[in-house]
Symmetry: C2
Subunit: 295 residues, 2 copies
Amino acid sequence: MLSLIERGGDLARRVGELTFAPSRAVDHVVGITGAPGAGKSTLTDRLIGAARADGGQVGVLAIDPSSPFSGGAILGDRIRMQGHALDEGVFIRSMATRGSQGGLALAAPEAIRVLAAVGMNLVLVETVGVGQVEVEVAGEADTTLVVVTPGWGDSVQASKAGLLEVADIFVVNKADRDGAAETRRDLENMLDINPAMGDWRPPVLLTSAATGAGIDALWSAVIEHRAHLEATGDLAIRRDRRLVDEMGRILVHLVERDVRALEGSEGFEAVKAELLGRRLDPYQAAARLLETGRS
Amino acid sequence: MLSLIERGGDLARRVGELTFAPSRAVDHVVGITGAPGAGKSTLTDRLIGAARADGGQVGVLAIDPSSPFSGGAILGDRIRMQGHALDEGVFIRSMATRGSQGGLALAAPEAIRVLAAVGMNLVLVETVGVGQVEVEVAGEADTTLVVVTPGWGDSVQASKAGLLEVADIFVVNKADRDGAAETRRDLENMLDINPAMGDWRPPVLLTSAATGAGIDALWSAVIEHRAHLEATGDLAIRRDRRLVDEMGRILVHLVERDVRALEGSEGFEAVKAELLGRRLDPYQAAARLLETGRS
């Protein structure tokens, strides 16, 4: 089903309809994002272990926008989670782009619904980098972990990456390295001056995924954040908002498809000739094309 | 004019029309991209120096998608180029997002035309990171430099970053550090197996922007690539293709604006209620909305 979802088209649509509004939704969707090399896959592996110890079924989506030009999933992340390869209560899947650059943002929520429909209690969504698509996908989670490493805490880099706003929990991983305390302090300072903060202040936790240090405290914080969302009613609000956002993305996708279908038509070629002759600027050309498409 | 372009709206449109098809186009647009911390700003500063020594007027756009949530330009890059602050033949400008996430990709080509219209011979476009927007903006250049640092040459990271396909010249900056030769070799190996390569094989050059080592050779390669594009006719082809791509992005932007205008309308709220009641899935809801908008 996930392969169909990834590929798109009519069968993907059929899977999407069958898995929408299942009798049971997934209990908790946890996003794990951060710069490449921060140890997200090893951390994900540790969280799988913690969740399994609590008895839940765990689905993992390793989201890889990969090259916007050549596509293709990289399997390194899967390899790093081999510790759970034989556990029937764990399902791990890499997902790559689906044609368009926005494809992953479209496929991810559908994939989460598939995992819910087959009985997963927890879905971990791990993204590869900190680009626009990753931040968008991270927004699909109930709880978003932002993973950084010591030395990363330079506030310019942090605000550039745009991660301050999506984090429900900050994880300073590889905390056995020099500078972990400074990175934690920098993040706390940034949180102190963040005007957008609601009634949940993201904790900043130190872990070493490689040794397992700090994982218990992290898992407790994940569960605590879920309880907070439930108690405040934010869980339902977040999920409803995600559904409306998803509809908006699909709408734009459908319209883009219609626009692309114009290419090669007589009207398109005529406008393109005006553009390349520099008689229309790109805005005038686009407006002309829009009129053509509507008439 | 750049501020108006950045802000968008009617005045931006007027500037865009006035600066389209000017009597003289800019001679050369050079894009500089690569991961944060690779030393791009210092390298840009060196290239300004090289271009000024040749007598050209230089415009610099430091493109910063910054946070997709909070917007705002970071001025660090500008500060690093202060060496040319008093040179009247150099104009340096940071650009941040313009409302929508795709705003920068829309504003960048217009900004380049503004710089051409006021007499710049060379425009350097420096992007902050390696996300989707940056790669898109880097594609606006005649010649794209991809800047990496020693140790970066891990092929998995390279293909993840999607930079192999956009590079006309690879720069291994901070080449006085350990591992520069290995990084160069890794990049050369990747180029050996790149099926997409045309008749220009991207050179891999070692520089130290901080000391100036390797800058002359880099500047020569930039000029050589320009001559290659001219000789093969690729310069005109690239510029025409960019113009058509720009029109496509504008078209999608205009349609998205129309779609957003639906929000709050009676039809939109009715469909949203069906969606949140889980009676329609997001695709069904989007299709319903599309019908509503067309009727």
